[in-house]
């Protein structure tokens, strides 16, 4: 049946003018196509952001280097951070959520398909607007001026006095617009999960990916909006003569920090929670066991969602808050590590006693587990505010958060790519190239980000375009840069695998991994309507029930 559907699709698309295909993709409201659009968009910006990082690392590979000017370097780190957070991580995670959530809950599409498309195009517009700043940022006067205020855009550096021209406005508006896109998609995900589940799929039977995207979307609603509010205030300051962050008029620079980090900290949990979702779907399949402690996993995630709203000022330990404030945020920042650790233990419990299959998705999962553990522990170090008084603003922090984002989020994303690419395209990614990608990236990642902790401990601050020789930072920076190139090669291998396998990969069939959630019952790729008939489910692993009718899951839940 599935091969017939694909044959019909192929016959229809052969010989059609490419403009028609392009038009279809631009006007699509199908959650699967929008998911792919989000993912491809994010991949393009991943490469751009990676180039920005490589340029910075070349500049920093030896002291007093003059590969780029300070002005260009400052724009590079601003654009790199802004791109990676808002135009790589958020879109790619929304892309996977968009593609998978309706399939996993047995629905035909998201609750609001047109809102879905609108949200995507808002984000896309934001990305293009941000990069237009390279060309148009100075308006009439200069040759182009991307923002150079850091991705946190601290006040009063963003005031007209210190950031003349329009470069800061490109940052503000691009991020503001894509923020509205994120809010739209989150509303869509929540409405879909509450209102479109197939019969029998009680909330307690939903796949963890659906649960975790529900929590993440709820967090987006109250985390992105403080940033939107602060950005509106910044625009009022810059264009209407307002004084929200105008220290000369009695305004406060610290209040921008509070508003930004009230967004900024939950944001990083917004980014990691969908990655927890990937782990919770992939590790069980490659351990051949159900997830250990499903209710605890849900509870821990909800807990993380709430507690993470109370930790924000651990990014501000050095601004001179009272000892009571510092102690409070130290406590909450440590407390949030407890449910996070519980999740790591539950994944370990899932693997324990299983039959582990080391295909590429699982390799990336295991890398994630070790690396996220380390990243979490350096996070606990940073939660200890006196320790943070030394480490904040240094390369130790840069190493910590890249450990989470690259070692955690990106590894989880790679696992998700290798796992769901067959479902999205109908073809398997090449396993040998996958393993090459994994090992190359692992070596490059550790070379860069393990070593990067050291200059921080030796006093090297972040966001500096050059540094003094003889402080013990020179060799470390060189090693960090070499690791960057190795990671770059690994990414090229990955992109080559994606392109090659899309055209020439072996056919995947419905269920290449012998998995248990509803998306594997649809064809690969699924037809536009997802399922011929809306399924009914009786347990958390409907396909396990079908494959093992003598021992259905419903008996044990």
């Amino acid at each position: 049946m599935s091969s017939d559907a694909m044959a019909i699709q192929a016959a229809e698309s052969a010989g059609r003018p490419w403009v028609e295909t392009l038009h279809e993709w631009i006007t699509t409201v199908d959650h699967k196509r929008l998911g792919i659009l989000y993912i491809v968009f994010a991949l393009v910006f991943l490469v751009i952001g990676g180039v920005e990082a490589t340029l910075m690392r070349i500049q920093l590979m030896r002291p007093h280097n003059d590969f780029v000017s300070p002005q260009v370097f400052n724009r590079l780190f601003t654009m790199h951070g802004t791109t990676m957070i808002f135009f790589v991580a958020m879109p790619v995670l929304f892309g996977f959520a968009n593609y998978l959530v309706p399939l996993m809950i047995g629905a035909r599409d998201m609750a609001f398909p047109r809102l879905n498309a609108f949200s995507f195009w808002l984000t896309a517009f934001g990305g293009i607007l941000l990069y237009f700043s390279f060309v148009g940022g100075s308006g009439l006067y200069g040759a182009g001026n991307a923002p150079d205020v850091g991705w946190w855009a601290y006040a009063p550096l963003t005031a007209r006095a210190f950031s003349p021209g329009n470069s800061s406005d490109y940052w503000t508006i691009a991020v503001l617009v894509s923020g509205f896109g994120s809010i739209g998609t989150s509303i869509n995900i929540i409405a879909t999960i509450f209102s479109m589940r197939c019969p029998g799929m009680k909330l307690s039977r939903m796949p963890l990916l659906a649960w975790l995207n529900l929590v993440m979307s709820g967090m987006v609603l109250i985390a992105i909006t403080p940033l939107s509010a602060a950005q509106i205030m910044l625009l009022v300051d810059r264009y209407l003569g307002g004084h929200f962050f105008d220290t000369q008029a009695g305004g406060s620079a610290a209040i921008w920090m509070h508003f930004f980090w009230i967004f900024g900290h939950p944001e990083v949990y917004v980014l990691i929670i969908p990655c927890f979702a990937f782990m919770s779907e992939i590790i069980p399949v490659f351990s051949r066991k159900p997830i250990f402690g499903y209710p605890v996993m849900v509870g821990a995630t909800v807990c993380i969602g709430f507690v993470s709203m109370s930790v924000w000022a651990h990014h501000m330990f050095s601004i001179g808050m009272s000892s009571y404030s510092n102690a409070f945020f130290t406590l909450t920042s440590m407390v949030v590590g407890v449910p996070t650790g519980i999740k790591i233990f539950n994944w370990l419990g899932t693997m324990w006693g299983g039959k582990l299959i080391f295909k590429t998705p699982m390799l990336f999962c295991i890398g994630f587990l070790f690396q996220f553990l380390i990243a979490g522990l350096t996070g606990i170090m940073l939660a200890v505010s006196p320790f943070d008084w030394q480490l904040s603003g240094s390369y130790f922090v840069v190493a910590h958060f890249h450990y989470v984002i690259v070692g955690g989020i990106l590894f989880a994303l790679f696992a998700a790519f290798y796992y769901w690419f067959p479902k999205m395209t109908g073809r398997m990614l090449n396993e040998s190239l996958g393993k090459l990608h994994f090992w190359l990236f692992l070596i490059g990642f550790h070379m860069t980000f393990d070593v990067m902790h050291i200059p921080g401990i030796l006093g090297m601050p972040r966001r500096i375009y050059t540094y003094e020789p003889g402080r013990g930072w020179d060799t470390m920076n060189l090693i960090v840069t070499i690791g960057t190139f190795i990671q770059g090669i690994a990414i090229l291998v990955f992109v080559a695998n994606l392109i090659y396998s899309f055209f020439k990969g072996p056919k995947a069939g419905n269920d290449p991994w012998d998995a248990w959630t509803l998306e594997w019952s649809a064809s690969s790729p699924p037809p536009e309507y997802n399922f011929p008939a809306i399924p009914t489910v009786a347990s958390r692993r409907p396909l396990w029930d079908l494959k093992h009718p003598e021992d259905p899951d419903g008996r044990y839940e």
Binding site: P70, N74, G150, Y154, P156, L157, G250, G251, A253, S287, R288, P290, G293, Y294, V296, S318, G320, S323, N326, A327, T330, M334, I342, F345, M351, W352, G353, K355, L356, I357, F358, I366, G367, L369, L373, L377, I380, M381, P386, F387, D388, W389, Q390, G393, H446, D450, I454, I457, L458, G459, P461, Y465, T466, E468, G470, R471, G472, M476, H548, E557
Partner: protein, 356 residues
């Protein structure tokens, strides 16, 4: 064949990660051991403290590190063990393993233990926060007001009537008779951060806000640091140099700084250049008409070993270059190129060299 490869990959993962961790640890140890062994350019390591706040932080950090390393050891060992022990073997495809859904006792155990660890860590931390932040100021403390500018440091000693820039001089503090230095931190423009790792943790300088920090160095010497909060184009070259001196040497320095500028008649021409071009808009020279506050005070310029907040050595050539073309030393700094003729420039530099 495929299963056998799966087996080897699994073991490899554990081994490689372990090796990498060990290598990283060796590198870290090596870096830390070699820190501070070059007297000319000391390494500003947070693990080489020479002042009470930095000492307390190090003791607490070692405690935290011990706990986190232990946690890593336990969990990573379990993960590595699981990866090796439970890999699937040939012929496994027919049988699924026992489907275990969870265990309340285990969940309780690995919830309660981390909570206890958090309690211990928090109590240890709270004590140090309080000890450092709420330390009372002894009567004999030296008071300094540090004002952050784009991209230089202004230092005022209100009780001593001194204004200087970029190079901070403070006395060593004898534990029996403490003479710490308490700094008020202000900013004239954007956010900055005062970070000299061997003396204390960093504290930010934020406009329209008064922050405080303190140091009590236990030994004399030169301690290095730099601005640790991105403040604009030349954030990277807003360096910190803290000279800790014996009480006697400090007093000598204070007395010299209190004097107005030396009036050397031979360099009257250069002084006239200084006073009639735009220099006086930004710079002050004590005892003259120059009272500008936007740039560093130059009364005792030649008592400093660097210029441009540490960006260049204080030599005749660099001084000349700085005035003629600041972008050659610190592109994006707020010092303008002064557009002087060669004759004027030479005279000016000779005048500046008299400001000892």
């Amino acid at each position: 064949m495929a299963k056998k490869l799966a087996v080897e990959w699994g073991a490899c993962i554990g081994r490689v990660t372990g090796v990498l961790v060990i290598v990283a640890g060796i590198l870290l140890a090596a870096a830390l051991c070699t820190a501070g062994q070059q007297p000319a350019n000391p390494v500003p390591s947070i693990f080489e403290p020479h002042s009470t706040p930095a000492d307390s932080i190090l003791r607490l950090s070692n405690f935290v590190l011990t706990i986190t390393v232990l946690i890593f050891g336990v969990v990573a060992t379990l993960l590595s063990y699981a990866t090796v022990k439970f890999r699937s073997k040939a012929g496994d495809a027919q049988h699924e393993p026992a489907q275990v859904y969870g265990s309340t006792q285990i969940e309780l155990a690995w919830t309660v233990i981390p909570i206890l660890i958090v309690v211990v860590l928090f109590l240890a931390t709270a004590r140090v926060i309080h000890a450092i932040q709420d330390a009372p100021k002894p009567v004999a403390a030296v008071e300094v007001t540090a004002i952050g500018h784009q991209f230089w440091w202004e230092y005022r000693y209100p009780a001593l009537g001194i204004v200087t820039a970029n190079e901070l001089h403070i006395p060593v503090s004898d534990p029996n008779h403490p003479t710490p230095t308490f700094l008020k931190l202000l900013s004239a423009d954007t956010d900055h951060s005062f970070w000299v790792p061997q003396l204390a943790g960093k504290t930010d300088l934020i406009p329209n806000r008064i922050n405080e920090t303190w140091v009590d160095p236990h030994r004399t010497g030169l301690f290095l640091g730099q601005c640790a909060q991105y403040c604009g184009t030349q954030h990277a070259k807003m360096l910190l140099r803290v000279s800790v001196e014996t009480p006697e040497a400090f007093q000598v320095w204070v007395n010299a700084q209190k004097q107005p500028a030396i009036q050397d008649e031979k360099e009257a021409a250069g002084k006239r250049v200084f006073e009639t071009t735009a220099c006086v808009n930004c710079h002050a020279v004590g005892g003259t008409n120059a009272t500008g506050r936007f740039g560093p005070d130059l009364t005792h310029l030649m008592s400093r070993s660097t210029i441009a907040a540490g960006a260049a050595e204080n030599t005749k050539e660099n001084l000349r270059l700085w005035i003629q073309n600041p972008d050659a030393i610190k592109p994006g700094s707020l010092m303008p190129a002064m557009q002087l003729t060669d004759a004027d420039l030479d005279a000016l530099v000779r005048y500046l060299e008299t400001l000892k």
